[in-house]
Every structure is written in structure tokens, then in C-alpha cells.
Symmetry: none
Subunit: 207 residues, 4 copies
DNA sequence: TATGAATGAGGGTTCATTCAT
DNA sequence: TATGAATGAACCCTCATTCAT
């Protein structure tokens, strides 16, 4: 574990600590969603929170650390909102549709969160200091999706396709959906269309 | 009339000039693809070309101007490579599959070009000075795609779906495909899978 | 609300902060007086103060902001030194002479200050971003002078002349006086001569 | 004599040469008047003339050389227009008023020329490479004025005053007059007022 | 004669970060 | 806990100038 410059991180995190950190993470989410990850400077995030720039570097080791917490936060909320319906689904097909529809609903409810996540991932791609796609949470999600698809293929509900490429495709579509919802697109319509399209793209021909 | 700071201001672009400009555009493509549009500084592009910083600002009004030329170039090549097969297709379905497959092939042949384009568009989204999605070329492509889809729906080959949302979806998938191909994915496999998936996603149930 | 890039954004300007700002304003005055406003780069001002470049942009939003503070400072000192004697004068003629003489004395005591002011105004004239002669303080001074001249004309002490043009003339003479004093001219002699000349130029013939 | 980098200067200056040089000097006058001497870059002057930047550095050793030619040109025209009436005057007082009035008329007829001159002098003041007030033409004018004033004092038409300071004052007033005329002020009114004011400022009390 | 091409210095600004309080 | 203060790197842009045609 890396030694913090100063700041907190010695357990237990005091109450006021946690509140401040949460506030800063929330502000970071907003600013990243609005300006993109590269333009989301510490100054601007601090300004949004109405605090001095130093506060941010006090509570977080550095910019990357703060962004890591943002990623965690988004996955936490996302998992809380779309995880349960997906797990409640009785068939792989229902699970997939629950995932797609639930994701769009999640974007509609928290437009900034998913946008921020996508922005951070996009920035990661070009950062020399970031491993290419190294976020653990991302791998979890990928694995869950892979399990659903594999089971559907085994059960004969899904047609034959390359699973990693289908996951890539689904993620791409959902990432674009974020932008559409964020820029004012009708989430209900989009959710319905996307569920239909993903269904059509994966199901086995009834013939 | 745009005032070039120095640089060529008379009509006939000399031979050596055209060569330099082409070289710089090519270098810009590479650097943008590798580092992203925001990190693709003029200095780095100049270094890649092995020339002094000033050369770039001599041949192009400013960074935006250079990036505009990059966009033009990518569309020019893209249109030259995927346009003909699309127009040669006899049915909307064939046209769509030609577009999807041809795009992937194009990415495979010019991995950096399309990556650069996507990066520039992504950066545009956050630029205060850039109109949100104002690139003319982008609108052309969108219109072409819309025409194909509409005709396929009229002819009963495509199922009923919302055309703008389907275009959004297709673009999203193709943009993700760029990344996959660029990072070493098997373009042949991807092309085949994507054509199948897009076909499945759009065709009318035979049943 | 002007967003300071970083720098102090809270109200109470700390003691050390006020000191630094004052120091930087003073250095700016000197550098502008010596090199002219256009050549007075931030780097040079910082060097004069013996600090890093960033310190200046930390304490002032940008170059213009710093120069605005310089203008304020000069008017502040000027008003404090020449205002009282002018207001103490019992006749418009005495007020005018107090203004002229007091100004020259002021230049002698703070050679760099008024020089810097004149330089900044001169640069403003060519700046595309600066309103032509929009400095509020300048208008105050003009108005005060106009009041004195008008009263003198009403009272029959001053001859008939166009007031705005006379103000233009007086300002021109005083601005030239700055240069003379700054380059080592005898301020006492100049003050006396200028008072005599301005008196002669404005008084009504006794005949 | 300094060796020219390349370019002309080997007598005789061909006809086309002279024309080009004249054109460039005229354009320089305009650009300097509009933008100030420091912002009057070679590029902008060349643009105004509709030629390539290289042309300027071909015809003139460097920027300073071009500006020297501008100064010459303005003095040449000025002398041609205000010299004769001044020399035709029969009394020092008439000569002074002819100089003042003639100058203002000159400004009205060639607004850019005198403005450019003043700008160049202002820039000289801050240039490290320029001797402080070294223009020969300036000294000629100063000497002429001094002669007029001295003769008027000897003849008893002018009151007693310090001649160098009075010259300074007159120059200051006239330089301000340029700006007034250039920015649209009524030259006729200004000319009349200035002649009256300068007369009042210099004449001996009739008692 | 005229121009195209290239260079490098210098300017202003934004920013992440460190250090002392 | 929080902040103020300072630093220097990196960015884009403008410019005068040189050199080869």
C-alpha cells in the first residue's frame, strides 16, 4: 500500500472526513461529466465544492487517486441499481435485457455518473501512467456479462457468437447510450429500442 | 478571410508545400491516435515529423486548423475505401453489411486514421470553442446511413426500429471496433462477427 | 464572478498576501516605466521581484488584472498627493495651478508611477480587447478638471475656450512633463514654468 | 555604411524598386498608425501591401530600417506642407501660429502619417537598440522652433520663458492633437483653439 | 526581384504539485 | 484539518530573421 503524502487514510475515517470525501467525489463526478477527464482540473473541482484547492490534495493522494474513487463510486451505485434486477432474472435473455434496460435507466437517474466513468476510461487509454484497461471493477462486469452470455448459448437461447466481441459491442452501445441520455435523449424510448435491438442481435432464430 | 499568421497565403500550393502538409497531417494522425487529441500537442507532432515546432504553425493557421485537415483526410480515405462497395450493393441489407464490413477493413488497413478521428470527435465534445457535433462530414455519413436504413424498412428487409437510434448504435459499435482492431484484435473475425450481429439486429424476422 | 485561475479566492486578503501583491504591483510599475507596457512581460516583472513566473499569475488573474491594479495604485497615490491641495484652493485659478504644480511634484516624487500610467494608457489605445479610453479613474479626473475650468469661466477668471480641448491640452502637457522629469529634468523649474504657462494660457486678459 | 544583407541599395534604385519601396512605406504608415509600432509586424505590413513577407525584408535591411524610412517620409511630407507657410511668416508670432495651425492641418490631411511618427517615437523610447532621442529630423525641427521662440523673445513679442521647456510643451500639445484629429475630432475647431491657446501662452502681456 | 520554407525565442496561461503553516 | 504560497513544466501562438531558390 502506497504511503499517503499526509492526509487521512489512517483508519478509522472520521465522520467529517467521510463527508468531505464524498462531497469531493460528487463534485468530481459533475466536473468530469461536464468538462471531460482531462479538463477536470483539481482547481475546478475544488471550486465546484467551494473549497480551497489544497483540500482536494489533502484528502486524496493525487488526481489519480481521486479519479479512482470516482470510478469506485460509480460502480458502487451502478451495481446497487442494476445488479439486483439482473440477478433476479430467471433466464439469460431476461438477464441481458435487464442489464441493458437497467443500465439505461441508471444513466437516466444519474446522468453525470456514467458519463464521468466513460470519460475517465477514455482518458486512461492515453495516460502513460495507467495500465491500458486495468480497472478491476471493469473486469468484474465483463465477467458477469460473459457468464450470462455463455449460459444463454449453452441453453440454446442465444445464437452462436464470439462472446468477448459481443461484450465489446454491448459496452459500446451502452456507452453511446450514456451520451444520448445525457444530451437530453428520451431514455424510455432508448431503453425500449436498445432492449429490442440487443435481443434481436443475440437471440437464436426461431425459424 | 482567414489570415494565416505567416505561412502560405497564395493559391497554388507548391509541390514541396503539399508534401510537407501531407507529412504533418500524417504525423498528426499518428500522434493523435497514440496520445489522444488533447495530448497531441503541436510540439509532439513536430517532433514526430522531425521538424521544428514553428513548421507546423507555419503550414497551418493553428492547431484547430491542422486537426480539421486531419478530419478531412480521414473522411477522404474512408470514403474512397468504403464508399464504392456500399454504393455497389444491390440491396439495403447488402449496403449495410458492406458498410460495416468495409469500415472494419478500413480500420485494419489504416488503424491510426479512424482512431484519430474518434479522438478528435471526443475532444470536440468538451471543447468550449467547438460546436457540439458540427463536422459537416459526419452529417453526410449520417444521412447516407439513414437513407439505407429507411429504404430497407420501406422494402420490408429491415424490421421496424428508430432510425436515428439505430445509427447511433451502429456508430457506437464501429467506434469500439476501431479500438479493438487498433489494439491488435483480429480484424477478420471482428468483421465477420459484426456483420452477423448487425444483420441480426436489423433484419425482419423470417419466421 | 471572475474566476481566479488559482490564487486567493476568499475575502480576507491575508497579510502576507497583501504584501506580495503590493510588491508585485510596485515591480510592475517599475518595469512598465522602464520598458513600456507592451515589453513589460510577466516574466520580467517576476524577475524584478525575484520570484518565479507563477507567483504573478497566482496573485493576479492575468496580465490585464495586474495592470488594472497598477492603474488603481497610481491614481490612489496621485489623488492622495495632489487632490488635497487642489481642493484647498480658493479660486479656480489657484485650483488649476495647484493641479499643474502638484502633478509635477507628484511626478518628481514618484517618477515611475506616472510614467507607468501613461504607458498603460498608450498601450490600451492599440489593444483590441481594451475599450478605447474606458478607465473610470480617468473620467473622474477629467470631470474634476472640467468643473474647475467651467467655474473659472463663469467667474470671469478664465478666458473663453473650449473646455474639452483645454483638458486635452493640459493632459498632453502634463504627460510630457512626466517624461521630462523622469529623464532627469529639473522638476522645480518645470513646475514653475508650467504653472506660468498654463496660467497664461487660460487667464482672461486684464488689459 | 552598414552592409545590406542582400537586396538593393546599390545605386541607382531602379524605377520599380522605388515604387515598391514607396508602397511598403505607405503601408507601414497605415499599419503603424492603426496598431502601434510594436504590433506593426512585418507580416501585417506585407499583408496590407498584398505581398509576401519576404518582400519587405528584401527591400529593407530589417524592421528598424523600414521604420527609419517611415520617419523620413513623414518629415519629408510634413516639412513640405508646413515649412513654407512658417518661413513665409513675417513675425515670430505669425511663424509660431503658422506652425501650430499648419501642423494641425497637416494632421487632418494625413492622419496616419503623424500618428505613425508619434508611435515610432514612443516605441523608440523603450527600445534597447535605439538611442534615446536620436532622430536627426527631430533635432532639426526642435532647432527651428527654438530659433523662432528666441527671436520672438528678443523682439519683445514673446514673454520670458524657458525655451526648451516651451518646445517640449508645444510638441506635447501637437502630439495630442494628432490623436484628437485621428479619432474624428474637428480639425478646424482644434486648429483655431490651439492657435489661440499657444498665442496666449507665449505672448507678452500688453498690460 | 521575389518568394517559400524553416527556425527558435519569447509571450501569456493553466495546471499538478510541494511545503509551511 | 485545512489553507496559502510558490514553483516550474507544458501548452498554443506570434514574430523577426535567415537561407535557398
Amino acid at each position: 500500500m502506497e504511503s499517503e503524502t499526509q492526509g487521512p487514510e489512517q483508519r478509522p475515517p472520521s465522520f467529517i472526513q467521510a463527508a468531505r470525501r464524498q462531497q469531493l467525489v460528487d463534485c468530481a463526478v459533475e466536473v468530469i461529466a461536464e468538462l471531460g477527464a482531462e479538463r477536470a482540473s483539481i482547481v475546478r473541482i475544488a471550486q465546484r465544492a467551494g473549497v480551497s484547492r489544497g483540500v482536494v490534495t489533502y484528502h486524496f493522494r493525487d488526481r489519480d487517486d481521486l479519479f479512482d474513487r470516482v470510478v469506485e463510486e460509480v460502480y458502487r451505485i451502478g451495481e446497487a441499481e442494476v445488479g439486483p434486477p439482473v440477478r433476479a432474472a430467471e433466464t439469460p435473455r431476461d438477464a441481458l435485457l435487464a442489464f441493458v434496460g437497467g443500465s439505461v435507466d441508471f444513466y437516466a437517474r444519474h446522468p453525470a455518473h456514467m458519463t464521468a466513468l466513460v470519460e475517465i476510461f477514455a482518458a486512461d487509454r492515453h495516460s502513460p501512467t495507467r495500465s491500458r484497461d486495468g480497472r478491476a471493477e471493469h473486469h468484474h462486469e465483463t465477467a458477469d456479462l460473459a457468464a450470462i452470455l455463455a449460459e444463454g448459448q449453452r441453453g440454446g437461447q442465444f445464437r452462436s457468437f464470439d462472446i468477448p466481441l459481443m461484450i465489446l459491442t454491448l459496452r459500446a452501445v451502452l456507452d453511446a447510450a450514456v451520451r444520448h441520455v445525457t444530451s437530453g435523449g428520451d431514455a424510455g424510448l432508448l431503453s425500449a429500442e436498445l432492449r429490442r435491438t440487443c435481443d434481436a442481435a443475440t437471440r437464436k432464430e426461431t425459424s
